[in-house]
């Protein structure tokens, strides 16, 4: 009887499984287009998207739309009045369901980020729970579609190459970046501003072994675009970008050039300096009589760049005697101060709070600051900025 009961249970479970096995709408891998990255342009009131998707085909990397991908990716395009319709267009064209869970980067073309508000575009991704809110958002010079046709000698996927260059840059070459949730969220704060990295392509035309003329070169992530209320404001200059990095990116390597007057014959007169560690202390004060101060102290540990300089900024390094002479320190101090003031000037000039200063006041003073800020068209003109740089102390 006991055995009969067990058999009945097994049969019942098997029946239930058979009944419901088909109910799980699992799209087979072959029917999915796994998107690694997406480029978006905006032309004629339509979003044009280009998706880099994983391809199991080992054939040449030509896509159905004429673009190229890396060895394991292909490019597919779609267009529509909204991003959702453009993504659906990809599905309609290819018969494969675009799967955005692996999408790590969205590249916005110039026609989109310079002309249109980004809220329409990015809110689609934000509302999709399966889409990673930590995905990178970046801009590019020219069209995003064109960028996806480029080839780098070291990477097999444009999306991977862009992700690596941007996020690697934060620690190694001092480029700040933003991700989707952060960018959208900051537009809704009292600052209502943020920045995005701008990617460009440094072309080195060459003929590949197969005889194809491909635009080969390297991606460059040296520029930064600033946005207020989801709209493009301006691109930062090199100095302003440096100022932004010094103030807002805690673990960012940065380089400077100074002259060493005391150098012996065996040492160079012009010296490359790298930042080993950095700490920024900000003190902000505000009273309703209109006196607003924003004092910044930047503590820097710097070293002469050598062959073993890795570009990594490390915390908790042991104290050592400074390698920099007083004169070198003075130059470095001046350069850092100039860069930071350049960043402050841009903020005041554009009224675009890409440094998040308004948010800092809000966190300290709450609604009192918001009410005060509303009384001015450009409250940053009222702020007295000061910068103090402390080197190797």
């Amino acid at each position: 009887m006991k055995a009969l009961k067990k058999i009945s249970i097994i049969i019942a479970v098997a029946l239930v499984l058979m009944l419901f096995a088909d109910s799980f709408i699992v799209t087979a891998l072959k029917d999915r287009a796994i998107v690694l990255g997406m480029g978006i342009d905006y032309e004629n009131d339509e979003f044009n998207i280009i998706c880099e998707v994983i391809s199991s085909s080992q054939s040449s990397s030509q896509s159905s739309e004429g673009g190229s991908g890396g060895g394991f990716t292909k490019l597919v395009t779609g267009k529509g009045k909204t991003i959702s319709l453009a993504v659906y267009d990809v599905y309609a064209k290819t018969g494969k369901l675009p799967s955005l869970g692996q999408c790590g980067v969205i590249i916005l073309g110039e026609s989109l980020y310079k002309e249109e508000s980004l809220v329409q575009c990015l809110s689609y991704f934000l509302q999709s729970d399966a889409y990673r809110d930590s995905s990178l958002v970046t801009c590019c010079k020219g069209s995003a579609k064109d960028l996806y046709t480029k080839v780098t000698p070291l990477d097999t996927s444009v999306s991977f190459a862009v992700q690596t260059i941007i996020t690697g840059s934060e620690h190694n070459t001092s480029i700040p970046y933003s991700y989707m949730a952060r960018f959208i969220s900051l537009q809704l704060t009292p600052s209502a501003s943020d920045y995005l990295t701008v990617i460009s392509f440094d072309s080195e035309k060459e003929t590949t072994g197969g005889g194809d003329n491909k635009d080969t070169g390297f991606f460059i992530a040296d520029d930064v675009a600033i946005f207020r209320d989801f709209k493009f404001v301006e691109e930062l200059s090199e100095d302003e970008t440096k100022g932004l990095t010094l103030l807002n990116v805690p673990a960012s390597f940065d380089t400077f050039v100074v002259n060493d007057l005391e150098a012996t014959q065996s040492l160079p007169k012009t010296v490359g300096i790298g930042i080993r560690s950095k700490k920024v202390k900000k003190e902000l004060n505000f009273n309703e009589n209109g006196k607003i101060t924003y004092d910044v102290k930047i503590y820097v540990r710097a070293e002469r760049m050598r062959t073993d300089t890795t570009g990594d900024v490390i915390s908790f390094i042991p104290k050592e005697k400074s390698e920099l002479t007083d004169f070198m320190q003075k130059q470095l101090r001046q350069q850092i101060t100039d860069s930071v003031f350049a960043a402050f000037s841009k903020l005041t000039e554009t009224n675009c709070d890409y440094l998040g200063i308004s948010n800092e006041y809000y966190r300290k003073y709450g609604k009192k600051w918001v009410r005060f800020q509303q009384g001015f068209e450009n409250v940053f003109e009222k702020i007295r900025f000061s910068v103090e740089v402390i080197i190797d102390k």
Binding site: V13, S23, F160, Y179, K364
Partner: protein
């Protein structure tokens, strides 16, 4: 086989079921009410919960005769009032279980982008719940003990990796809108707390061991601390967008990996966390089943199938016709009708030491009396 439940097992059950249920839709609901200060609302409710929990632990100590909650009701407030309390308890736990079930499906669907129909999802879980309910509380205790380490390792990794991308200054300014919205949100959302309610059903099987109070209150404090940290992390990651997410666990875990070049390790975390939701849901199913036993005077050893089916059937069928989750959230969060269950959530634990003391005293007298006759 020893069917008694150990203190460590109860501690692990508490640590598993307290945090995870509050990391699905609840944070965005709370954020709508109290903004970035909603984590303070959570602390407020937890403080009240903890006082009740301490009272309940005292009751466990006073329960020297190992009486069940039904025995205690019968010997203090009487059978009729006891049944009414069980009926309220049944509704309270049942509604929570129904929301957890739907949230599980939602988490599963949004994380893995796999759509499924409700029956295909719920019938295997209902079958599992029925099986677990028949095996008794001891089964949950052992399961929690078995999975605790792996679940907390994955949980810890997820929180640690995600917190690297968080900006914790987002929680400031604290109480910028005053204390009123925080208090109101706390009062309106009590329905989702008091997770120790299941302990009412372990009174007979659990014998307090040495230092039980320290172990259990330590576990409860740890679980509360984890919950508060999780919610602070959510604000630190999403700030103004905290009101939008439907499945917070899925959203926060996405920050465990920044680059897609590293793959989606967060999917592994979510898969493991789903176990906790299943444990919580099946435990609540078990408690509902026990309530029905008490209401309909079912003897413990009989454990008929009809009570299992009575619990499972509405849970399977009703969501197809009614938007259960949103209606429950509207009723007990937006409209604040959660107070109807305060008698179970707060009244019962606070009075439990007194009731347990009286019931045990009566039980002892009942045992002593025949001996005196014999003498």
């Amino acid at each position: 086989m020893n069917n008694k439940i150990k203190t460590e097992q109860v501690a692990m059950m508490l640590m598993l079921i307290v945090p995870v249920g509050k990391y699905l839709s609840l944070p965005s609901v709370l954020a709508k009410g109290a903004g970035r200060d909603y984590w303070i609302s959570i602390i407020l409710v937890f403080v009240v919960d903890f006082i009740c929990f301490l009272a309940f632990m005292w009751a466990l100590k006073l329960n020297t005769e190992r009486l069940s909650i039904k025995d205690i009701f019968d010997r203090t407030i009487g059978q009729a009032a006891g049944k009414i309390l069980f009926a309220i308890m049944f509704i309270y736990i049942y509604l929570r279980a129904a929301v957890i079930m739907e949230s599980c499906l939602e988490l599963f669907s949004v994380t893995f982008a796999i759509k499924t129909n409700w029956f295909a999802f719920i019938i295997p879980i209902a079958a599992l719940s029925m099986f677990m309910a028949r095996k008794g509380m001891n089964n949950f205790a052992r399961l929690s003990e078995m999975l605790f380490v792996i679940i907390y390792l994955s949980f810890g990794m997820m929180l640690f990796l995600s917190s690297r991308n968080a900006n914790f200054t987002n929680i400031k300014p604290i109480l910028d809108d005053g204390f009123q919205p925080v208090l109101e949100t706390a009062l309106k959302n009590t329905f989702w707390f008091s997770d120790f309610s299941f302990m009412a059903f372990i009174m007979r099987d659990y014998k307090p061991e040495k230092k039980y109070a320290l172990t259990l209150s330590g576990a409860y404090i740890a679980a509360m601390a984890v919950t508060v940290f999780m919610n602070i992390l959510y604000i630190a990651l999403f700030d103004q967008l905290a009101v939008q997410s439907q499945s917070v666990l899925s959203k926060v875990s996405q920050f465990s990996v920044k680059l897609t070049t590293s793959g989606r390790v967060d999917w592994l975390f979510v898969s493991i966390m789903l176990f906790t939701l299943f444990i919580k849901a099946t435990l609540e199913f078990f408690c509902c089943n026990e309530c029905l036993h008490y209401i309909f005077n079912v003897k413990k050893h009989k454990n008929p199938y009809w009570t299992n089916i009575a619990v499972a059937l509405p849970m399977i069928i009703v969501p197809v016709f009614v938007n259960v989750k949103d209606n429950i959230f509207d009723l007990f969060s937006r409209d604040g009708y959660g107070f109807v269950f305060w008698i179970i959530q707060y009244g019962l634990p606070l009075f439990s030491p007194l009731m347990t003391y009286i019931a045990n005293k009566k039980e002892k007298e009942k045992v002593i009396y025949p001996r005196r006759v014999e003498e």
